[in-house]
């Protein structure tokens, strides 16, 4: 693997080296310039002081200045020559002084020439080195920039885009050949993961289809024998094959009723299976709330009367609710008939519909029955749960009504629940999430 990490680290290291080298060279150059400049200065200073000393041998300032110059002068031979000169001045020999001075001046002139040359050389050396290392540093940085841009950020954002698409279930993407570096590894890992996900999605689709097929076949396989059973019983009871004695007729009736019940259970189970697989076909539209409530209560009027229970509803908001009206009626019918079943004679079952401040439609079915214990409330919406203590119903339930109601409500995007205390009646409620003001419905129509 051609490691990006290694490459970038090397680049940064080299850049560091170049910068340190620049700094070092700059310092070196400064030192040199400083040195030669000050030496040239010292040279002129020394000549000046020598002159002063010649004029007055007792000039203490000049003498001490020369002494300090002597300490700082370089190289050593200049120091020696200066020393000789000072000695001859102090000794008072004019001739020696003149000769030594000539030599000293010539030496100094040479030295200054030499020093200036060094300064010039130093200057151009510095300019060159500094220019070169600046250029190298710049090149290294540009290289680093391009590497990060092309080998890191571009592939990263491409990968990000692919992953984002994937997240939104756009599963079509190209399996590019990944680069031979760390990002490539990341890309490869993603590719592998993506493939796994796709395989699982396919598997789920297959399972789903198998489930659908099973439901379809089971539906047929269960209904066919029931057709024969129900049919036979029905024909016997209808007298098609002759008269039968009352006891036999009674038994046949029992068998007929129970096979009808079995058919209802099978229908409910298959419905429930479909709802849970989220394959239950709902046809939703904005439908009048008033119509829904009126139709439902009308159809249950007979049941209520037989059970000696009042079925009423509170004033309704004038809305059209987004729902499958047939299925919502099924839910309401289920809740209301349960309420009637569990209500004592002469009591009232009331339906209330209201709009919440979260823009939902809240349906409540309130009864004055015995209420439901908190520990039962948890399980009530599960399959085949029937609470003990209901009166013998006119038509026995399947135990699936609430489970189906829950599934239907949830498929509308709503939620269902119960509020109840033992001895204080029950309130079964559900929310549907979307509604419109009914007047808009009329305008559209």
């Amino acid at each position: 693997m051609k490691s990006l990490n290694l490459r970038l680290k090397v680049l940064f290291f080299l850049t560091g080296v170049a910068l340190v080298f620049s700094a070092f060279k700059g310092y070196q150059s400064y030192q040199m310039a400083s040195h030669y400049s000050s030496q040239i200065q010292l040279s002129y200073k020394s000549l000046n002081s020598i002159n002063m000393l010649r004029k007055n041998r007792k000039n203490v300032d000049a003498f001490s200045e020369i002494k300090s110059i002597q300490q700082n002068i370089e190289p050593f031979h200049r120091e020696d020559t200066l020393k000789d000169l000072v000695d001859s001045i102090l000794a008072g020999s004019k001739r020696k002084t003149r000769e030594t001075l000539k030599v000293y001046e010539a030496n100094e002139a040479n030295y200054r020439q030499y020093a200036v040359k060094h300064l010039e050389y130093n200057d151009s050396n510095f300019k060159f080195t500094w220019g070169l290392s600046s250029f190298i540093t710049l090149m290294l940085l540009i290289t680093a920039f391009f590497i990060t841009e092309n080998s890191i950020f571009k592939p990263l954002s491409k990968l990000q885009l692919t992953m984002d698409n994937f997240k939104h279930n756009k599963y079509s993407f190209e399996f590019e050949v990944p680069q031979q570096n760390e990002l490539g590894q990341l890309h490869e890992t993603f590719n592998t993961l993506a493939q796994q996900v796709l395989e699982q999605v396919e598997e789920l689709k297959t399972l789903d289809q198998a489930k659908s097929d099973f439901l379809s076949i089971a539906s047929h396989e269960l209904r066919t024998p029931l057709t024969s059973i129900k049919g036979s019983l029905n024909l016997i009871n209808a007298g098609v094959v002759g008269d039968i004695n009352p006891d036999a007729k009674n038994l046949v009736s029992i068998a007929e009723i129970e096979s009808d019940r079995l058919i209802r259970i099978i229908n409910d189970l298959l419905d429930l299976a479909k709802i849970e697989a989220q394959k239950f076909p709902l046809t939703t539209a904005y439908s009048s709330l008033e119509e829904l409530i009126v139709n439902t209560t009308n159809s249950l009027h007979g049941l209520a009367t037989t059970a000696n229970v009042n079925l009423t509803y509170s004033p309704l908001p004038e809305v059209a609710v987004l729902m499958d009206s047939e299925r919502t009626q099924q839910v309401l019918t289920n809740l209301i008939s349960n309420a009637i079943k569990f209500s004592p004679a002469e009591s009232t079952v009331n339906i209330e519909v209201s709009l919440t401040n979260r823009d939902e439609v809240l349906f409540e079915v309130k009864d004055q029955g015995p209420g439901i214990a908190p520990e039962d409330q948890e399980h009530i919406f599960e399959q085949f749960r029937q609470v003990n203590g209901s009166k013998t119903p006119i038509v026995k339930g399947t135990g699936l009504g609430l489970a189906i109601s829950k599934g239907l409500v949830e498929q509308h995007g709503g939620r269902i629940g119960v509020k109840s205390q033992p001895g204080q009646g029950s309130c079964f409620y559900f929310y549907l999430p979307e509604y419109q003001w009914a007047k808009y419905l009329d305008q559209a129509a």
Partner: protein, 127 residues
């Protein structure tokens, strides 16, 4: 009426025939698969053809398509089937005059048939 009944389950066939013959007074010819149904439909004349969906050799839908193609009498067809999902019913109604779901009540079978045929002819007149 003279009715052709295609049903592969013998028990269901017995019950259907009893209901149609004893309660409805109809004459019933019985076959057990789509192939035989097609054959009989083309050689004889019937007032009504009742088809089950899931049959061996040729299923109900296929048989009905073939009959529609070749039957000059335009005999009405009713599906009698356990398949009751909206897609299935839509498929049936594309070709046939009606659909009666299984399990059915034999006592009311004849009534259902009469109603279905009445609706179908109303639609023809209206359309």
């Amino acid at each position: 009426m003279k009715i052709l009944l295609a049903e592969d389950d013998k028990n269901v066939a017995v019950i259907s025939r009893m209901a149609l013959e004893k309660l409805g007074g109809h004459e019933v010819d019985w076959v057990q698969n789509g192939e035989e149904a097609l054959e009989k439909a083309l050689t004889n004349t019937y007032d009504l053809i009742i088809l089950d969906e899931m049959m061996p050799k040729m299923n109900g839908i296929k048989a009905s398509q073939e009959i529609r193609l070749k039957d000059k009498n335009k005999t009405p067809i009713i599906f009698l089937s356990a398949k009751n999902q909206p897609e299935d019913i839509a498929n049936f109604l594309r070709i046939a005059e009606g659909h009666i779901p299984k399990p059915f009540n034999p006592s009311t079978l004849c009534q259902l048939i009469d109603e279905t045929l009445a609706n179908a002819s109303k639609e023809v007149k209206a359309g």
